[in-house]
């Protein structure tokens, strides 16, 4: 028997709609309505300024370690804006822009970053999962939720976020394989920000693209300019339609860049040069989007100035609210809450012992 060729489809598409200066390819422009465009821009800008304030507050010791989303706003907003509010959203740990879009108040995010478990509570009505830190660990839950939606015949899909590093974890491959095997309504958003802490994308995997990993599972995938909110939007829209039609999951690789630190505990000076950061700075998604909006007369320079002022006030007042809330959160006994529906006797005993100890020692 001779050796035979097994034919495989190997091509993946790359989609980019805006050029570097924010000029769109007219044929590809998804023609998003004005209100949505304005909301997308506002949330991206809010996320950026919120990150900047938080970096300052972290240095001052007001909040703890956190992972800024800076540079990835288009990947996050372009994708989440393309689905419905009652679709599910499963984040990893850097999805500030997505959280803001979904309606998570900044005060909640601040409480989380200041070390209060209260910040993990999901606002009423939001179908979001809490932040999940172990890389790729949340992806199989996204598949399970999607399968439940399918079984319950709900027209809902599941957005799931992760980074380039996640594609090396077993959980990523298991989730993709399950999703395609059970044709679940999942949209997997891989934010390839080029760095997994100190490990560059090329060292993470020798694969030419990350999206091609979908092909191994028979899943459609597309690579997009992740700093182009229109391209991310258009690709997500397509994936969402596929999911809603019952045609299963899609992997979207957003090519973007982490313009800031991995977390505030990290020093990128140790492993990457500033030149690279400057090169990517030119592709900053916010000015690009602003050029587009400006050229299409959706947003004028003057509007941006007004908006900046508004956002500044909003962020500062979120801190004031968070600070006010923290004053009433000094009771450590809450650590015994939310472990089970009903607190077992041994835990109640420990809780009482802590209470007694604190009373005896003026705690």
């Amino acid at each position: 028997m001779p050796r035979k060729k097994v034919r495989l489809e190997h091509a993946v598409e790359y989609l980019s709609i805006l050029d570097k200066q924010g000029k769109p390819d007219k044929d590809l422009d998804p023609k998003i309505d004005k209100d949505t465009l304005l909301r997308m821009h506002r949330t991206m800008l809010l996320s950026r300024r919120f990150d900047e304030y938080q970096l300052r507050w972290q240095k001052q010791g007001r909040i703890g370690t956190f992972a800024p989303a800076k540079g990835q706003e288009a990947s996050q907003i372009g994708s989440i804006a393309a689905v419905e509010d009652d679709d599910w959203m499963v984040p990893s740990f850097r999805e500030t822009s997505v959280a803001l879009w979904r309606g998570t108040p900044m005060t909640g995010l601040l409480l989380y970053n200041a070390g209060y478990n209260e910040g993990g509570q999901i606002p009423e009505g939001q179908r979001d999962l809490p932040i999940s830190i172990p890389v790729a660990s949340q992806m199989n839950e996204a598949v399970g939720i999607a399968y439940a939606m399918k079984m319950q015949k709900k027209d809902r899909l599941v957005m799931s976020y992760f980074g380039d590093g996640a594609t090396s974890e077993g959980d990523f491959h298991e989730a993709l394989n399950f999703a395609q095997a059970f044709k679940t309504p999942n949209v997997f958003i891989c934010q390839n920000n080029q760095w997994a802490i100190s490990v560059p994308r090329d060292q993470q995997t020798p694969s030419k693209t990350l999206v091609q990993k979908a092909l191994a599972y028979g899943m459609p995938g597309i690579q997009v300019d992740g700093n182009d909110p229109l391209a991310v939007y258009a690709a997500t829209r397509e994936a969402a339609e596929r999911a809603r039609k019952g045609d299963g999951p899609t992997l979207i690789e957003c090519i973007t860049y982490r313009l800031s630190v991995h977390t505030t505990a990290d020093d990128p000076g140790k492993y990457r040069d500033e030149e690279e950061e400057e090169r990517w700075q030119e592709w900053d998604p916010i000015p690009r989007f602003q050029h587009y909006l400006n050229n299409h007369k959706v947003l004028r320079k003057k509007d941006i100035e007004t908006l900046e002022k508004e956002i500044d006030e909003e962020v500062k007042s979120a801190w004031d609210d968070a600070e006010e809330q923290m004053k009433s959160l000094d009771d450590p006994l809450v650590m015994f809450d939310h472990l089970f529906e009903e607190r077992p006797a041994y835990l109640e005993e420990q809780r009482q012992a802590m209470k007694q100890y604190r009373e005896d020692h003026n705690g």
Partner: protein, 326 residues
Amino acid sequence: MAELNMAEAINLALKQEMEKDDNVYVLGEDVGVDGGVFRVTDGLLKQFGEDRVMDTPLAEAAIVGMSVGMAMAGLRPVCELQFSGFSYFAFHQLEGQAARMRWRSRGSYHVPMVCRIPYGGGVRALEHHSESREAYYAHTPGLKVVIPSGPRNARALLLSAIRDPDPVIFLEPKAMYRAFREEVPDEEETLPIGESQVARKGDDLTMITYGAMTQHTLEAADKLSDEDGIEAEVIDLLSVSPLDDRKFTESVRKTGRVVVVHEAHRSFGPGAEIISRINEKSFYYLEAPVQRVTGYDVIIPYFAREKAYIPDVDRIVAGARQAMND
């Protein structure tokens, strides 16, 4: 002799052993260019090159599984899992392969590897970055669990761990990485795995602890001496498994009063095993019920409240007084 903190002391052990033995390899996430997120492996890449200091892709199971294979084939891998909270991605490799290979192959193979894992709270970190789950590993037959408490013993224990013929889980209390400096001799120094140390001598009370809690317990012992005139003997276990019960048995038979201190959860924690050994070997010497000062049976709260979870000097003193007054 240099004054080193624990991160530097562990770095020294790695460097010296890599110089001495070409079979020693270091692998893990961000251990090379970045020098590790706690800078424990800083400088190793430059000195030994990327074949021996491997910045791996982000995959804990592969890091451990690959280490098992390397060890079986004659190398001495020292892998790092970035935080203990991420070590569960590799649990099946540790439990199903590392711990069983010698047993399953009836001695045909063995796995001389070290898995270094920062663990424990007290550094204002995020979720999954503060747990003390040493019991998972100590409960696994075939694994040794070593937990240093300071620079000098960390260096000496790591050397022994690398030379050990079997897999060693080397848990590094991250709150101790830069907590204090200590004289660490330049020349090689080892400490046997499975042997505890008397960190402070005393006749009135035995305090058994390990890891980051050793410092708190020593402070508590000083306070008890100053305020109550109680002289406590502090046993620093250094290995949780194999558990050295000879030293604390001797001490308990002398004092008759005991407090066990650990950061790990209370139920099914290492304290439960320690107290069982006391019951088995020293029951008739006891003057009072043994006290436990531990973390609670809840997931360690986010950092704003972690202090209330982690045993501190005052809680340890209160536990000790209880053991004295009963």
